[in-house]
């Protein structure tokens, strides 16, 4: 677990620095070639997603290994494949200046490229390695869940929902809440890998043999089927950690109820089908998919809102709560997820999407649930473990410094995107039209404050880790 978490957090930290250089360039505090900006933007996107995914993967693997032991060697294979992929992507972007964006939408990596051909290949092969590691992980997780709870029926909690009385009378154990997160991650993860593997191999083949035609709409559908689902699953993996960690602070148990099971069935279906909202403006997309995207995007919001966010709030309500770095981040992450989710819902509404989707509103919402959602869950999980192992807590000053940096700086950074998005400032532009640069200036201050807050967390984590060693 620690290898995944440490690597994921290291990649995350590096990408925070890359992100700051992007924002301060938009603020005109720093000037460099637009080609470098787009290369760094590509690196930032790919690196961040993989970084937080690694953290979630490590954490979820650890909690599910407690349910039914899994092969550590296999987890290392998944880790090695992903690390190899990250190295290839780093080479492609830093040396080759590949700059087609982390979504590598066809035909962008091949047409009008300002980078050498090998960089395109290295990036695509790197993504293929990441996908291979992800597939290994998902198959392992699926195997764990299926064998731990008696197949798919048991893992879904089917009997708990439809034969509740006989299920309870039989004395069988229902899957714990984190098992639902693992099941959804495994199944939707394999679904994402299906599209990702196909489009990834197709792009590699096209890179080798340019005579092979690819339908750009087909490629875009598969790219987002993989990309959106994979990015979305980072949060559901992290939610599995919240289910385990938050009850420890509240001294209450997070029960599996029929409502929780049904909500996760909804998540299973809607996470896999919500990605169509990325193609609202592709007028050649079959209309049925557009309706499906709208409906799934809305419905995807209900299960987490009803069960996890509301459930988390109820768990904490009037509980003898112990507020530490760990519990602070876990609980605040639920709020960040909620706010980011509302931003996503607004953008996923067809008429609004036409106005917002090409603006920085989009980075606003996904940064909200990645920075103030997934990252906080991961930080919460790390501190939960370090606090338990060291038997120590953090001082009030440390908690305030970290909290002000992460929440205050984060809020300033995110508000910059939301306001600029509402003002129609376009996204993925090195040079933004007014009022983009002015907003980017104070958002950059927020980004730097956020980075300082994260630095406080790092120092505190190192201190607690040392204390853990002494305690051991």
């Amino acid at each position: 677990m620690w290898a995944f978490l440490a690597t994921g957090m290291a990649v995350f930290a590096l990408m925070v620095l890359v992100g700051i250089t992007l924002r301060i360039e938009q603020a005109h505090w720093l000037s460099y070639d637009p080609g470098i900006f787009y290369a760094l933007m590509t690196l930032h996107g790919a690196g961040m997603i993989v970084g937080v995914a690694l953290c979630g993967m490590g954490g979820l693997w650890y909690v599910m290994d407690r349910e039914r032991p899994m092969s550590a060697a296999l987890a290392w294979c998944a880790y090695a494949a992903i690390v190899l992929g990250v190295i290839a992507v780093l080479l492609s972007v830093l040396v080759g200046r590949f700059a087609a964006g982390w979504t590598f939408l066809f035909p962008l990596p091949f047409v009008g490229a300002t980078w050498p051909d090998w960089a395109t290949g290295a990036f695509l092969i790197g993504i293929a390695f990441v996908m291979t590691g992800w597939t290994i992980y998902c198959l392992q997780l699926l195997g764990c869940v299926l064998s731990a709870y008696g197949g798919l029926r048991g893992a879904l909690g089917w009997d708990l929902v439809f034969h509740h009385d006989s299920f309870v009378a039989s004395g069988r154990r229902e899957p714990p809440p984190q098992a639902f997160a693992a099941l959804v991650t495994a199944i939707d993860g394999l679904f994402a890998a299906t599209g990702g593997m196909l489009v990834g191999v197709a792009l590699i083949v096209h890179w080798i043999d340019r005579s092979i035609a690819l339908d750009p709409l087909w490629a875009k559908n598969l790219t987002f089927e993989f990309g959106h689902t994979f990015a979305n699953l980072t949060i559901y993996m992290a939610i599995g950690l919240v289910y385990v960690a938050l009850p420890r602070y509240a001294a209450r148990e997070w029960h599996t109820s029929p409502v929780l099971a049904i909500a996760w069935w909804g998540t299973l279906a809607f996470v896999a089908t919500a990605y169509f909202h990325h193609l609202y403006m592709d007028f050649v997309q079959p209309r049925g998919f557009q309706y499906l995207g709208q409906v799934a995007s809305y419905l995807a919001a209900f299960p987490p809102a009803v069960v996890t966010i509301f459930g988390g709030a109820l768990l904490v309500y009037r509980a003898p709560m112990r507020w530490t770095m760990g519990s602070m981040f876990l609980y605040a992450g639920l709020i960040g997820w909620l706010i980011g989710g509302v931003g996503a819902l607004i953008d996923a509404t067809v008429p609004i999407n036409f106005s917002l989707h090409n603006t920085v509103w989009v980075p606003a919402h996904f940064h909200t649930y990645l920075l103030e959602g997934v990252t906080l869950f991961v930080l919460g999980w790390i501190f939960t473990n370090l606090e338990a192992q060291s038997g120590r807590g953090s001082s009030l000053l440390t908690r305030w410094s970290a909290g002000l940096g992460v929440f205050g700086g984060g809020a300033l950074l995110l508000l910059g995107w939301y306001i600029a998005g509402a003002e129609s400032v376009p996204r993925r532009y090195a040079e933004q039209p007014p009022p983009g640069p002015a907003i980017a200036a104070w958002a950059s201050v927020g980004a730097i404050v956020l980075a300082l807050g994260l630095a406080v967390c790092l120092v505190e984590a190192v201190r607690l880790a040392r204390a853990s060693k002494v305690a051991a």
Binding site: L74, T132, I136, L139, L142, L198, A202, L217, A219, L222
Partner: protein
Amino acid sequence: MVRTLVACGAMLVAFVLSFMPVISNERNVPVHDHHLDHAVLMFFGVVAGLALYRQRGSAESPAWIWGAILAPLVATFLMAPSLYAAVDAWPWLHAFDHLAFVVLAMLAAYAGQRYVAGVGWAVAIMLQTMAVVAAFGYGVAPQRTAAAAESAAIGAAPAGDAARGKQLFAQNCAMCHGPEGAGAEAPRLKGEATRKNTAQLVAWIKKPAPPMPTLYPSPLNQRDVDDIAAYVEQLK
């Protein structure tokens, strides 16, 4: 008994279908149909794999996960349309290519089940989905719907006269970019078409980054820019 019959029957059908290129001597199958043919072959391979597992009732073993991972990956590479044209000319090779799909599908399903019961189904669905979805865009040119044609027309740059562009290039550009774009003070332009399309070339000439001077709208007009772009596109 039923499981043995299903396994043997599925394998027999897959085997016969694999040799269809030899039996029917059919050539130049459209890529779309070819992908779907593979989907059918893999379906029977998957059925055989699952039935074989049920019939043998073997114990679970972690090492089998590699079969479940590698088989779909290799099968995806075998779906490369570049291979289709090659194997089309050699019916026997084509048949063996088909057999490879059957074996990979069987291995994926069987190995997945041997890893943990239920995983084989997931891998089988994954593989089958890939084969079917490939038919709608992998090696298949997009269908030209009215909306797509309109969208392409908007993005397309007007074609220029490369011969006239050559003269204009010699007068306005060659002093920095060298004769025929071989490179001098300014960057070499040979192979520029691999980095920029026509519209991007036109946009660049009209609004270049310093130190390249802006020559549009004077002394170069729109037609001149189009002609120079057409000439630069030809430089190899």
